[in-house]
Structure formats: structure tokens, C-alpha cells
Amino acid sequence: MNSRLTRSWFMLPYTLWMVFFVIAPILLVIYYSFLDINGQFSLANYQKFFTPVYLKMTFSSFWYAFLITFFSLLVAYPTAYLLTKTKHSQLWLLLIIVPSWINLLLKAYAFLGILGTYGVSNQLLEAIGIGRQQVLFTDFSFIFVSVYIFIPFMILPIFNSLNELNPTLIDAANDLGASKWTTFTRVIFPLTIEGVKSGIQIVFIPALSLFMLTRLIAGNRVITLGTAIEQHFLVTQDWGMGATIAVFLILIMFAIMAITGNRKRGV
């Protein structure tokens, strides 16, 4: 690593990776978004995106992603809060995280059995007298399974920010006569908002781009932006339109990251 030259040789693999797998794919997606189905340069795809069909799809994709994020948060926040109160909280946290390490496909497959016509859910419904219902391939099953899959991802950042919360602040709030609810809304929640934001970021963007679950669990009834991209690339072979939707998904992703603050996800 003496001279500049040896260093740039040494860096070559990483540089190549960045050029070929980060910069080139982005440019290619943008380039393809300007090609119509015959490979001619045009703005037709963008025009098409602003027709009611695609706008409606974008809107419904947002609506589903919103519902999934909302219910994940609704379950994850109390869970994370209660986890911090347990004795071996790191161990419990690990146990909550373990299901997220299990192959996504297997979890989706499990729900095919659970929610199916003769599955456990219908046996339960019959037992309490409601009777057999179509559960699989409905909006409900899609949202339920998605929430199931995203909950650990939502719990983790919230748990971390709750864990960093200084407990003396809660004592102070109590001493000053705040009720439990006031302590929560005025002290705990505002101080853990960063965790909530990164949780939303981790859940909302993938929720927009789900395509496997929409096929397996929602039975093609739900079309998300991800499903539309997959459809255009692998089924109808209209790569230009697929790339255009991808461009919009990337723009939406940046917008959400800007709103929720630029926190790293995943690790």
C-alpha cells in the first residue's frame, strides 16, 4: 500500500463490484424505463404510469403497505416494551428474532396449511360456531401473514431505542405526578421515536415490494408494486414498463428514507 498505483490495484475487486453491481444496474434500470415494448426510445411508459390503472395499483400498494406497517407497529411496540421489562431481555429478544431467520418461503408455506380450507383456522372458526370461511387468498390473510413476517424487524429497532432510554427520566416523570399514560405519551414515546421511524422504514419499503406473498397467500388478488415489476419482467416481458415502475419504487424509497431519517437498516 505504498504508492497510489498499488492501492488502486488492490482496490480493483471492490471498485469493479461497485461499477458493475451498484452503478451499472441503476443506470440500466433508468435506461430501460425509456424503452417501449418494441425497444424504441420513448416516454410512453411514464405516460402509462400516470393512467388510472397504474395509479390505482400504486395507491392500493401504498394502502396495503400502510396497513401492514400499522399493525406491525401496533403489535411490536408493546412487545418491545414488555421485553425490556423481562429479566433476560437479550435472550428473549434473540428468541423473538429466531423466526425471522427461518426461510421466508417456509413460513409462507406453513400458512398455506394453517389458513387453507380445512386448516386449523377453519377448524377453530367451526368450533366457535362461525363456520368455515374462505381465509386463504383474501386481503386479511395477506395482511396477517405479512405482519407476521415483519414483526421481528419492527421489534428490534424499537427494543434498542427503549433499551437506551434512561430509566431515571421515567422516575422523574412519576415523581412529578405524571400518570402512566402521560409518561408514555410525553416521555417514553417521543424518546423512542427514532426506533419507531427505523422500524417503519424497515417494514414499509419491503411491504411495497412484496411479490412472493401476493402470489402464494393473496392468490394474485393483491397487486403490489413489487408484484407488478415481477409480472412485467418475468411474465409479460415488458421490461420497459417494469423498469419504469422500479424507478418510481426507488423514488418512493428515497422519499420514505428522507421522511423517516437516514438510518441504516438491517444490521
Partner: protein, 260 residues
């Protein structure tokens, strides 16, 4: 009441997995009526040569991609660490993170375009390259903190004692980074094993990994082979988690990694 809620969440999180494992021993062939205990599905699984080849493919892709991604990632981390200018460094870092924040569908679609434009045949190598590509940034992110925590006087001392650049790298820097490298390799391994979306786009015909295979099986409906397979995968995952837990303990990472 509080504990009840927590237990309920635990129950819901684990129930589907236990459900799968339970019915993998069902002789009835369905996931709703348990007839009697059998190991037939496991026997069938182990006699299914095609599936075993796919398992092997998956493992080969995971190990190779994790290994290569770790090497590239270490190089990347060293390079980013060496950049002194703050803005340049942040730019490289944000480019590094693009593949971590991008949805899988976009990574898959853009790689498909890339391989098609360059005339690269879809199959083992396109899957391997894609897995290397999306694992590199996570290795960089796990190695980089270790690198910035390392005291520069270590390198100076080694140089004063007459070590050449290669010695400094292999005998001082890399051993110091090893916990980060281990964690990075492990994360890359699990990313690869778990990936469905990206592989689905770039796999073409003739080559398949486990996730893609489970998807096509599941689209055809329930078959208890998959249950038997998931039991084995579950055990494998548990082993991986335990290994990772010990690595993390040694490295004193106080947060547990979540999958992408």
C-alpha cells in the same frame, strides 16, 4: 396480563413453524388431519436426488458467495477507511449501502437486465455473482467499525519493527478485524441461504436453489416433503443462530442481527 401478551406473541411467532414440523410426521399426507406417525416423508426426501442436488447447489452458492463477498468486503472496508476526505468517504459509503436498502425485486430486476445486456447466460454463475453482489455491502458494514476502532499506532509499530505492507495486512490488520470478518462471512452466508427474490429473477432454467424450489412446489399445493425439508432447515437455522450468537458474544455486539 403483560406476560400473557408476550407469551401470545411468542406463540404466534413459533406456531407456524411447530405446525410444519408436526405435520412432517403425518402419514395422512395433508396438513389438517393427523393420521399416524411416520418418517416416510423424510425417507422420500432423502431419496429425491433432484432435491438433494438443489440442496447441494444452495450450499455451494452460499459458501462460495460468502467467501468471495467477504474478501471483496474486506478490501472495500480497507479502501473506505483509507479515504481521508469526508465527503468522498460518505459518497462511497452511500453507494455501498444502495444494495442494502434496495428492495429485492429491484435488485433482481436490475441484475437480470445487467446479465442480459452483457450477454451473460443465466444459471449457476449468474446466481453466484448476484449473491456475491448483495452480500458485499453487509461485510463492509460489519468490518468497518472494527477498522475505525483499531489504533493506527499498531500499524506504525509493525512498520517500525520492519514489517512490509503484506505482513502488516496479514499479521496485524486482518487478525484484529477477525471478529468483524467472521460476523460478515456469517451474515453473507445467511443472506445467500435465505434469498428468494433476487435468485428468482436471475436463475433462468435448469438451475435452482432451495427457496426457488420451495416456491414452485408450494404453488402446486401442499406436499409433506416440504414439511420434512423445513424441519431439517429449522434445525440447521438453529445451529447457525447458536454459532452466530457465540460469534456476537465474543465480539460483544450487543444487538442481534435481523435478516434483510
Amino acid at each position: 396480563m403483560a406476560n400473557f401478551f408476550l407469551l401470545l406473541v411468542f406463540f404466534i411467532l413459533y406456531a407456524p413453524i411447530i405446525f410444519l414440523i408436526f405435520y412432517s410426521f403425518n402419514s395422512g399426507g395433508t396438513m389438517y388431519h393427523f393420521e399416524s406417525f411416520t418418517l416416510d416423508w423424510y425417507r422420500e426426501l432423502f431419496s429425491d436426488v433432484r432435491l438433494l442436488i438443489i440442496v447441494l447447489n444452495t450450499l455451494v452458492v452460499a459458501l462460495l458467495s460468502a467467501l468471495i463477498a467477504t474478501i471483496i468486503g474486506i478490501i472495500g472496508a480497507l479502501g473506505i477507511h483509507a479515504i481521508k476526505k469526508r465527503t468522498a468517504r460518505n459518497t462511497v459509503l452511500s453507494l455501498n449501502n444502495v444494495l442494502i436498502v434496495s428492495p429485492d425485486v429491484i435488485i433482481g430486476a436490475s441484475f437480470l437486465i445487467l446479465f442480459t445486456v452483457t450477454g451473460y447466460k443465466l444459471g449457476f454463475y449468474s446466481v453466484l455473482l448476484s449473491h456475491i453482489a448483495f452480500s458485499v455491502p453487509i461485510v463492509v458494514l460489519l468490518v468497518l467499525p472494527k477498522l475505525s476502532e483499531m489504533s493506527p499506532s499498531l500499524v506504525d509499530a509493525a512498520r517500525d519493527l520492519g514489517a512490509n505492507s503484506w505482513d502488516v495486512l496479514t499479521k496485524v490488520i486482518l487478525p484484529y478485524l477477525s471478529p468483524g470478518i467472521m460476523a460478515g462471512f456469517f451474515m453473507a452466508l445467511t443472506y445467500s441461504l435465505d434469498d428468494f427474490a433476487v435468485t428468482f429473477f436471475v436463475t433462468g432454467n435448469g438451475f435452482s436453489t432451495l427457496s426457488v424450489e420451495i416456491y414452485s412446489l408450494a404453488r402446486r399445493g401442499v406436499s409433506l416433503n416440504i414439511n420434512a425439508l423445513s424441519t431439517l432447515l429449522f434445525l440447521f437455522t438453529i445451529i447457525l443462530v447458536v454459532v452466530y450468537y457465540f460469534i456476537a458474544q465474543r465480539q460483544k455486539i450487543n444487538t442481534v442481527g435481523v435478516r434483510k
